[in-house]
Amino acid sequence: MYRLYLVPTLLINVVIIFIPAVLTIALAFFRWDGITTPVFIGLQNFQALWSDRVFWTALTNNLIWTGIFLTIPIFMGLLAATLLLIARRGSMFFQVIYFLPMIIATAILARVWQGMIYSPVSGVNGMLQRMGFPTIDPLSQPSTALLGIATVDLWHWWGFLCVIFFAALRQVPQEQIEFARLEGVSFWKILRYVLIPAIWPTITLMMIMTVIWSFLVFDFVYILTQGGPAFSSEVLSTLAYRSAFYDLAVGKAAAVAVVISLFGLVATAFYIRAQAKEFHQ
């Protein structure tokens, strides 16, 4: 009887996730403009992706994005959370400050950075240029566009990690930290041998989620550059969006979505494995 409790959530999952997912996978094998009747074409959409250099650029950009977000914000978040743990005074204030960007809509954040920071007309960048500094708008150069977008997302994201890590660190038994301090262990060694091992499951979870989210990144890229200039900041999700809604190639977009899901699936498998391991321990 208790299994009946599963029905509502199961129903929601079937309607909102399972059916659209199955339809998307099926569409990847069809040619469809989103308007007329779909035509079955087998693996042609995947073959087209294989020989599409923009697809490879997008995939590479997603990998670079994942690399950036697996390192920089996690390092910054850990460092700041540890400092908050040690210097307890004002920690609430800093938590609020760090978390603030997370509660602002991404579209607004992106427009603020575009108009008030990067813009050579209305932004800080323009002010610096008028003062004689040879600065550039990173979004306007193929070599820096992706980094320019990543900077905005990093600014928005790392504070969230900091708050999560801080919450985990507060669960570490105080005696362990106090004991290490009494023994004269340095800050870095406490971090290395006490704190990080204690919150390792949280770090692992956030890293796995980072991989999944990195392959889903869309909003900042679409608002700031729409994948440009010259495809230099294209990611898989913007490629899928452009294919579906501008090229009217919904089948190809579905194929890209399947590729995105494959990466998410691998990360999810790791997550489930890690969870199972933790559960057994």
Partner: protein
């Protein structure tokens, strides 16, 4: 408690009767989804179209719903599910053929005769809205590309509006020497702005006859005239005619730069007329507009024809007569005058005869330009904008592909080759919009 409930219930019943009463008295509802419009613009639509239509047609009740910039995506999904509004507002002629093929649109041929559209609307536009011999769409507004310039700045430097490609290049070089950006431009808010420049060179350098042949599949996009056009555009980019901040500026910021004299000219569309009164008078400057200069051997200036959005009636509409009547009202001389007076550049419906239309928007230049364009279209002497006549994936590639040429990531030959391959694929799939005969 019971008495209170009774009183509350009675009041509620009275209120609902008061609300439902007028609703029942109103005519049959016509739904129309529109893209984004600011409150001022929504006011123009309300006072210029909705209210006068409903007053003149008490049997109908035209309602409008502002859906934002993603309207075309919402519309496609709604029509797929058999819903959506009575008046279908598409993102351009490219979308009409697949929608008509899918049976989502109603053939308008009966209304053509009922409302006399053949006499009132320029024939080219009737042809553009056809699929399989039947009319499915009419363009809401049509536009062209040309060259805006800061007349005051030109007078100060003794410059004249260019009439040939050689003249515009000499002028642009002179501007660069004066540290003035020759072409006010930017695509930060709208990446497809790139195709405005591609459309300009395809028509003014390769020529509209060659573009027509390519659209009909009689000439490949890799042919020599197109190579010359893209090479010229690339040389302008490399020389810095588009300024240092193309990818950072919005078109509005670029327009403002031209008004202040930081930039000299702006190759762009007639929709920019709506910004003239905002930026030129405060800078004590006067605006100029000419057709874009043409290359030797091209009879110019060429006015490339652009249609940004179209009107159709949904096949599932329960009030098709009402929807067609509303479209007919929008295509009246009265609406043309009212809407173009309030909101120039956005409601240039393709009326064949503008001689009796009263437009008062303080922009005589706009009126003259639109008359010139109407005449050019009437004489079949027009060019082709890429967003109107190219199929979707070809157009989408063109937007990003030209950036690759500009930024040295591909060559003109590679760009045109991929453009041609994408076009041929879409032509084979029947995605090229109707191309009226010249």
């Amino acid at each position: 408690m019971k008495r209170r409930t009774f009183i509350a219930g009675s009041l509620g019943l009275l209120a609902s009767t008061a609300l439902i009463g007028p609703a029942l008295a109103e005519g049959k509802r016509i739904t129309w989804w529109y893209e984004s419009a600011d409150p001022k613009q929504q006011g123009y639509i309300k006072s210029g179209i909705i209210e006068p239509f409903n007053t003149a047609n008490p049997d109908f009740n035209l309602t409008i719903d502002y859906r934002g910039t993603e309207l075309d995506k919402q519309m496609r999904v709604a029509l797929l599910s058999g819903n959506g509004p009575d008046i279908v507002y598409t993102a351009g002629p490219t979308y009409v053929a697949p929608m008509a093929r899918a049976g989502q649109l109603l053939a308008l041929d009966d209304y053509v005769t009922r409302f006399g559209w053949t006499d009132r609307i320029l024939p080219v536009f009737i042809e553009m809205g056809k699929y399989d011999g039947k009319l499915y769409a009419l363009p809401k507004t049509y536009e062209t590309l040309g060259l805006f310039y800061n007349k005051t700045l030109f007078e100060k430097h003794g410059w004249k509006a260019p009439t040939t490609i050689a003249e515009i290049e000499t002028l642009a070089d002179a501007m660069l020497a004066e540290k003035i950006v020759p072409f006010a431009s930017g695509n930060a808010n709208w990446r497809p702005a790139n195709e405005h420049y591609v459309s300009i060179v395809l028509n003014s350098i390769a020529g509209p006859e060659n573009v027509y042949k390519a659209l009909k599949g009689e000439l490949p996009w890799t042919a020599e005239p197109f190579v010359k056009a893209i090479d010229t555009l690339n040389s302008w980019w490399q020389k810095g005619y588009f300024g240092p901040n193309y990818f950072s500026l919005s078109d509005e910021q670029a327009f403002a730069q031209m008004a202040t004299g930081q930039a000299g000219m702006m190759p762009t569309g007639t929709w920019q007329f709506q910004r003239v009164n905002t930026y030129f008078p405060p800078n004590n400057a006067e605006v100029g507009f000419v057709g874009f200069p043409s290359a030797e051997g091209i009879n110019g200036p060429v006015y490339p024809l652009g249609v940004g959005s179209t009107f159709s009636v949904a096949a599932t509409s329960k009030n098709a007569d009402g929807a067609a009547a509303a479209i007919d009202y929008i295509f009246s001389e009265k609406t043309y005058g009212v809407m173009n007076s309030a909101w120039p550049g956005e409601w240039n419906t393709p009326l064949a005869d503008l001689s009796k239309v009263q437009v008062d928007n303080g922009l005589p230049l706009y009126g003259e330009t639109m008359k010139t364009l109407a005449e050019a279209v009437g004489d079949n002497q027009y060019g082709y904008t890429t967003w109107t006549f190219l199929p979707p994936a070809t157009d989408s590639y063109l937007v990003s592909g030209i950036e690759e040429v500009w930024l040295g990531r591909s060559t003109t030959a590679q760009f045109l080759e991929q453009l041609n391959a994408t076009f041929l694929q879409e032509k084979a799939d029947g995605k090229v919009p109707a191309i009226p005969a010249r």
